[in-house]
């Protein structure tokens, strides 16, 4: 019995590799941009195949969506064809191959994908101290934090910190357990937008004033 997930993964990853080679070799920048979008969509399929739906969603919306659009916008400002350059750059090839081989060597130590006996499934942080665990530290809610919700027991919610009110584990991790992290990520995005405004909008106004004086 052939593992269907594996067959699909191999098929998708072969397509991904073919697309990546095409991106490097094609000279038309528009084709390269579209191929990058296809690459991201294929990667989104790979993530979905691994049940990492949130990652796949992000890859599809950011990698295939907004990056392609912003690259198309940048394409308007440049030429349409890349400079003719030799395709094979030996030092870059050596570095890429060595790094790739090191990464593949590193995966040899990892548990098999979906292995129920993988350490992450039975060695949990801060569990019973008599058991072996990867990290010994105090985890859980602060003593002064809101207590667990006991008001909805009749609804059959699981007894986790969110009582099943936040079914998407990724969101509850990002927004609650790593709330500070996500808040400062939002601040980083805000700062990026603010910098764009401060640097570029003023320049545009100056240009308009200068042109107005000239005419």
């Amino acid at each position: 019995m052939v593992n269907q997930v594996l067959v699909l993964d191999v098929f998708l990853l072969l397509l991904v590799a073919a697309t990546a080679i095409a991106v490097v070799t094609v000279r038309s920048l528009l084709s390269a941009t579209i191929l990058m979008g296809i690459y991201s969509l294929l990667m989104a399929l790979v993530w979905s195949n691994m049940h990492a739906l949130d990652v796949g969603f992000t890859e599809a919306s950011v990698g295939a969506g907004i990056s392609t659009i912003l690259l198309l916008g940048a394409l308007v400002l440049t030429k349409r064809f890349a400079k003719r350059e030799p395709i094979i750059h030996v030092p870059a090839l050596v570095i890429c191959v060595v790094t790739g081989l090191l990464l593949i060597y590193g995966t040899a130590d990892m548990p098999k994908f979906g292995d129920p006996n993988a350490p992450i499934h039975h060695l949990r942080v801060g569990q019973d101290p008599s058991k072996k665990s990867l990290l010994l530290q105090n985890v859980g809610k602060h003593p002064s934090a809101a207590p667990r919700d006991k008001g909805h027991a009749h609804e059959g919610h699981p007894d986790d910190d969110f009582n099943g009110h936040v079914p998407n584990t990724v969101t509850s991790l990002l927004a609650a357990y790593r709330g500070y992290d996500t808040m400062y990520e939002t601040t980083v995005i805000f700062t990026a937008g603010l910098s764009m405004l401060l640097l570029l909008r003023r320049r545009r106004d100056d240009d308009e004033i200068r042109e107005g004086r000239r005419s």
């Binding site: 949130d54 969603f57 198309l72 934090a145 919700d149 969110f162 936040v166 545009r204």
Partner: protein, 163 residues
């Protein structure tokens, strides 16, 4: 690709946006799909804590809808429909909404970003409420910033052709 390129004098006399909007197919398809893109983006933001996706992805999809409009009908048309001040306010509003949710739970007696304190009798509901608000904040900021970046990147092309 190369043989379809228009001669140089034709290319320089046309705005890239104009060449896009003159293609009926692009305009019709954009007009048909933009509402669905915007609804999907709002759906993803609103259901961030229930299904896959969340504020970031939803915000990006919303911004993609706006940017598609700007690419097909021109960035100036997008600025006319939605004043840039809306995006400026949105950038700050989203970040403030996130920090404000944290501050609200601090004022309610918990620690910073302890959403359960928003509804101390039903902490689970408070968690859901707090995460929803936070996702809205992320979505608003991401959507505004992405659209602003597009408007800024598309600026030099417009001013070059106008001047």
């Amino acid at each position: 690709m190369r043989e379809h390129e228009p001669p140089d004098e034709v290319r320089t006399s046309m705005l890239p946006d104009e060449t896009m909007s003159q293609q009926t197919l692009v305009r019709v398809v954009a007009k048909m799909t933009i509402p669905f893109i915007l609804v999907l983006g709002i759906y993803v933001i609103l259901h961030g804590e229930l299904g896959p996706g969340g504020g970031f992805q939803g915000g990006v999809i919303l911004a993609a809808g706006f940017i598609l409009y700007g690419m097909v009908f021109g960035a100036d048309e997008l600025r006319r429909r939605i004043p840039t001040v809306v995006f400026d306010i949105g950038m700050a509003l989203g970040a403030l909404l996130y920090a404000g949710t944290g501050l609200a739970s601090l004022l309610a007696g918990g620690t910073f970003l302890d959403y359960g304190m928003l509804q101390p009798t039903h902490a689970g509901d408070g968690e859901a409420l707090g995460m929803t608000l936070v996702e809205y904040g992320v979505g608003i900021t991401v959507c505004s910033v992405m659209t602003t970046i597009y408007l800024m990147v598309s600026d030099p092309a417009d001013s070059k052709v106008e001047g």
